[in-house]
């Protein structure tokens, strides 16, 4: 087990460099004219263009730019955004609120998906099952660009249950509506997968054995079936982090949360390479750690899986 973790940690370093390289390459490919993005629709003067090109090495080749970036990164310098702000400072400003938002969304999604999914699975084909199916489909049919403003319109502006916007220092109550919206992006998949796993596992031999043994049905369902059904769901929660982050781009914009998603969107829009790569680097690290944790969870959930 210990050796497995060490090996994974070593692989992580490679993955980290791989991911930052890919993102850097994508940003490079996406770079049309970051200087123009700075001046809006007016035209950048030649001397402004020359000076900024020089300052951000914009006329250098891809590998040279990557080298400059990595050199900075390894000495702990994430560089400056094209608007001249320290990226490390921007990271420190943006992460806390997004992490709270993401955790809240994951908790909401998992809580709803697992309980509803298990019930739907047990009563397969029943009214509850079909009802949840329809509900999830309606959510699926709404891309988040539609869902987020609609939720704001209905729950904040018309019904006034929640504040319409929040800030960097949002309270949990203020974050609840954005988190709910964000949760809907992953709830459908989690719910369907839970339901399917439960249906599968209910027919498994060990359930029959447990029932034959005379165990209480409730115990069979909530202990044996649930535990075995959680494996694919747990995997999804790891993957969903990525989905959540892309959903966060829209959610944060709509609810005015100056977090990671917002900064990423801005960086991509203004072709701000250092900014995007800086944020993605942290994102990738979190991502890798979560996925390692997920893999370790498999072993905990399923005693038959062993890592060596």
């Amino acid at each position: 087990m210990f050796r497995y973790i060490v090996r994974r940690l070593l692989q992580m370093i490679l993955t980290f460099f791989g991911a930052t390289f890919v993102v850097f390459a994508l940003m490079f490919a996406n770079q049309d004219d970051p200087i123009q993005a700075l001046v809006g629709e007016k035209t950048a003067s030649d001397s402004l263009r020359a000076a900024l090109t020089e300052r951000y090495h914009l006329d250098e080749g891809f590998l040279t730019q990557y080298w400059y970036y990595m050199k900075g990164l390894l000495t702990g310098d994430l560089g400056k955004s094209l608007t001249g702000r320290d990226i490390s400072e921007m990271l420190a400003d943006a992460w806390p609120v997004t992490i709270r938002l993401a955790i809240l969304a994951i908790l909401i999604a998992a809580a709803i998906a697992v309980t509803t999914g298990v019930y739907a699975g047990i009563r397969r084909g029943g009214l509850f099952d079909n009802g949840t199916l329809l509900m999830t489909l309606l959510l699926l049919a709404m891309p988040i660009v539609v869902l987020a403003p609609l939720a704001q319109l209905v729950f904040a502006m018309e019904l006034r249950w929640f504040p319409a916007t929040t800030t960097k220092n949002a309270t949990l109550y203020e974050l609840l509506l954005p988190a709910l919206v964000l949760a809907t992006t992953v709830i459908a998949t989690q719910l369907r997968v839970t339901r399917t796993s439960v249906v599968e596992n209910l027919r498994a031999d060990y359930v029959r054995t447990a029932r034959a043994k005379g165990l209480a049905p409730r115990r069979v369902t909530w202990v044996h079936v649930l535990r075995n059904s959680l494996i694919p769901v747990v995997t999804l929660i790891g993957v969903d982090l990525g989905v959540l982050m892309s959903g966060a781009i829209v959610t944060e914009e709509v609810f005015n949360i100056p977090g990671v998603g917002f900064n990423l969107a801005r960086g991509i829009r203004t072709e701000d390479g250092p900014l995007v790569v800086g944020f993605v680097s942290v994102l990738v690290i979190i991502f890798l750690i979560v996925n390692l944790a997920v893999d370790l969870l498999y072993a905990a959930l399923d005693p038959r899986i062993r890592y060596e």
């Binding site: 090996r7 692989q11 490679l14 993955t15 791989g18 991911a19 890919v22 993102v23 994508l26 940003m27 490919a29 996406n30 199916l133 329809l134 489909l137 309606l138 699926l140 049919a141 709404m142 891309p143 988040i144 660009v145 539609v146 403003p149 609609l150 319109l153 459908a188 998949t189 369907r192 997968v193 399917t196 796993s197 599968e200 027919r203 498994a204 494996i231 694919p232 995997t235 999804l236 790891g238 993957v239 969903d240 990525g242 989905v243 982050m245 892309s246 781009i249 829209v250 990423l264 991509i268 995007v276 993605v280 994102l283 990738v284 991502f287 890798l288 498999y298 399923d302 038959r304 899986i305």
Partner: protein
């Protein structure tokens, strides 16, 4: 959506050594299944709408006049008019094609990629798993927005309508979740008794992989794919919102939804109709997938 399942299992007609083939059993099962028939008919109708839209409406989806802005239903335009004064019914019918093409093709692509990566990683384990899983991690690390802007923006020529660019982009960006789910199912199935038994009996790795492990790992995978179909149809709207989606005078549900959303407070009908069609399409595919999977699942017999 259940094609991989269908093929692999159908090619192994007598896994259980029964007199009737599994496919034959499945068909007998399906014939009696009401849900199968409902969803199959729905899918056929949707495909007809996609490829023969003129069967359903004689109106031109491109004929729009601002004087009709947000008008309610009339005799010819039974769903009313949208913000630009276009016939919502005609546009919804004509939008089926691009939406279905993008949704089905990108999901197929994601499915194939996910199957190959997930099955190999889960089955072989060790170095293969490490390499493939880390590749998946790297892909997952790329923010969807960035990938979408770069891939779709670069892939689409200035002349075409962008269906291919959008399909490829969504395929490339969404296979990772399918792969990870596949891998975890394979890992779980691999340690089951019947696989161990098969191995001890001297079954070849290929036979183990395709006849024992794969069919038993498909359940979650298919669910993820059917949902992916829905989200990919909807994701086309997100791409359009970012300006890297369908181009020119293309019509699609995603474009309709994205446009109508801004005016939801004033006129809801241009938003509701394409959303209903989108939901019904996804529902049809999910039900069809469920029915077919149930019919083929050896554990259900």
């Amino acid at each position: 959506m259940s094609d991989p399942n269908l093929i692999t299992v159908a090619e192994a007609p007598d896994v259980s050594g029964r007199s009737r083939s599994l496919a034959g059993d499945a068909w007998a099962d399906l014939r009696r299944n009401k849900i199968f028939w409902v969803s199959a008919v729905l899918v056929v109708v949707i495909l007809l709408m996609a490829f023969l839209p003129s069967l359903f409406t004689s109106a031109d989806p491109g004929a729009c006049a601002l004087s009709n802005k947000h008008k309610g239903p009339t005799g010819s335009a039974i769903f009313g008019y949208d913000f630009q004064g276009c016939d919502v019914f005609a546009r919804t019918i004509y939008g089926t094609r691009a939406s279905i093409e993008v949704g089905v093709l990108s999901t197929l692509m994601a499915g194939v990629l996910g199957l190959v990566f997930g099955l190999s990683a889960g089955y072989f384990g060790g170095t293969t798993d490490a390499v493939l899983s880390r590749l998946t991690d790297i892909m997952l690390g790329v923010p969807f927005l960035l990938g979408a802007v770069v891939f779709s923006g670069r892939l689409s020529g200035s002349e075409d309508d962008g269906v291919w660019a959008v399909t490829l982009t969504l395929g490339v960006l969404t296979w990772t979740s399918a792969a990870r789910v596949m891998r975890s199912s394979v890992i779980a199935v691999k340690s089951q008794d019947y696989v161990a038994a098969g191995r001890m009996l001297g079954a070849s790795p290929g036979r183990l992989m395709f006849r024992h492990i794969l069919p038993n790992s498909m359940a979650s995978f298919i669910v993820v794919l059917t949902i992916l179909l829905g989200t990919n149809i909807a994701a086309e709207a997100t791409l359009s919102y970012l300006g890297v989606g369908l181009k020119g005078d293309a019509v699609s549900w995603g474009l309709q939804i994205a446009e109508a959303q801004d005016y939801a407070r004033i006129a809801a009908h241009p938003l509701i109709w394409p959303s209903i069609f989108l939901a019904a399409t996804v529902l049809a595919f999910i039900m069809l997938g469920d029915a077919i999977r149930d019919a083929f699942d050896p554990k259900l017999r």
